[in-house]
Amino acid sequence: MIYVDIKKQLHGTKGLMDLDVNFEIEDGQFLALSGLSGSGKTTLLRILAGLEDSVSTIKVGEEIWQDKNTMLRVQERGIGFVFQDYALFENMSVEKNLLYVNKDKKLAQKLLELTDLTELKKRKPSTLSGGQKQRVSLCRAMMNRPKLLLMDEPLSALDPAMRRKLQNEILALHKEFGTTTIMVSHDPAEIYKLAERVVVLENGKVISDATPQDTIVKHTGSQKFSFEGEVIDIVKVDVIWVAIIAIGQQLVEVVLSAGERKELSIGKKVKVGTKAFLPIIG
């Protein structure tokens, strides 16, 4: 069980903000941390890692990492951390990146096999693709056999196909090592696939803490289906107005009524749905 009670004043984009977060994580749980940028997610991870000062109580099992009298240094926490920009040691080969953390050659070999990197172990990071780099970074994080694995948007710089492949590898490693994992992510599909629990932060506070089903698959309104999107453009086609709306990677056109036309503006977040939808079964 990991107990976290974190308080810190942050200089956010909108002035001062209090990060005030309190939760527990069961051993082996996979927790996704979500929320708008500037809501304190990365700072929360950095405090857990011991990279940032705060007034906090952090207990991992029986071990106190931080409280009024204790402040375990980052070197002593034995965590794994995966950065969005990989942060590999550029001067070392793939294998040396792993062995720098821990001299355990067997473990390094096993991790490289699990992630299909064995053939690349003598290569320098600068010669690898983004996906390969992030796999090395993931392996490096596991070399500590961490009780707690922290990942800060690890896959957001990768293309969708590489994301899916790495999601599987993250899940495999999480299970293989029985690690407790906290991952910052904005991708609902990724959260749904990986996490057992989603904590959503807003302005430094937890506004939602539930399963991905309850958090992501929203049942607001009486729509039969609905998607969230952003208005990219509003154009006039002959006599009607049409909104171009981005839903994930897709663009859709929606015909607007005169009233809707007045309310909408470019950049607005909207829900697109239908109420009178009759599925045809045949």
Partner: protein, 231 residues
């Protein structure tokens, strides 16, 4: 021709390079922790420390030389201490030149190193801490190997700058044959004694060597440019 070159007295040059080599070595060891601290600190004292470090760039060498002379002479507590305890004088000898050069060339070592440290991805440094490594291990095994051009720049520029110093050396060391008479001072003396031929030869040698050194740095750094010059 060969005979002519063989007949030249190279002692001032050897002295200049000995001085520059020692100064560079000492400054490298002093500047590593200082530059690392300056690159990592968020302390309010940082601008003060940076300003003090950069002072030798803007001060006339005579001012620097004067203060060093005053603080090292037998009349000063430091000079008296060395005189009484170790029986060595800290002025007008080679030791005093090394001390003075270390002050004079400090910014040329610290600034490129600090620039190199600041150019290193912070996450990479933190990844090393997370891996359980201390600051010293991190600097030696991760940071320095990833900023070789900045390290090379710092070392070469410090060396070249020390070879090229004149005012401070003259103030603190005077011009004692085989002890403090470095190449730049020797040239000055030759001009004073109207030995223009000797001055020409020494000066041309200085220009040639300085150019070769700088060319080497720029050639090496143009491929992988990190860090920068202070001048």
């Amino acid at each position: 021709m060969m005979e002519f070159f063989a007949s030249l007295d190279y002692t001032p040059f050897i002295l200049s390079f000995k001085l520059a080599g020692l100064t560079t070595l000492i400054l490298f060891l002093i500047s590593l922790p200082l530059a690392w601290f300056l690159s990592q600190t968020r302390s309010k004292a940082k601008p003060f420390l940076e300003a003090i470090t950069a002072l030798p760039i803007v001060l006339p060498p005579s001012v620097l030389g004067f203060y060093i002379l005053v603080s090292l002479s037998q009349n000063s507590p430091l000079g008296a201490f060395f005189e009484n305890v170790f029986g060595v004088s800290l002025v007008f000898n080679f030791t005093s030149l090394v001390i003075a050069s270390c002050f004079y060339s400090l910014p040329f070592m610290v600034q490129p190193l600090q620039g190199g440290f600041e150019s290193i991805n912070k996450n990479m440094i933190e990844a090393s801490y997370i891996a359980g490594k201390s600051q010293v291990q991190t600097v030696l095994q991760v940071v320095l190997p990833n900023m070789k051009p900045a390290v090379l720049t710092a070392i070469i520029i410090t060396f070249a700058h020390t070879v090229g110093e004149f005012g401070v050396v003259l103030m603190v060391g005077g011009s004692i044959e085989s002890e403090t008479k470095v190449a730049s001072v020797a040239i000055y003396e030759m001009v004073e004694m109207m030995d223009y031929k000797g001055a020409h030869i020494y000066s041309a040698l200085m220009v040639l060597m300085s150019f070769i050194i700088l060319l080497a740095v720029y050639t090496f750094n143009s491929s992988k440019r990190i860090g920068g010059f202070a001048k």
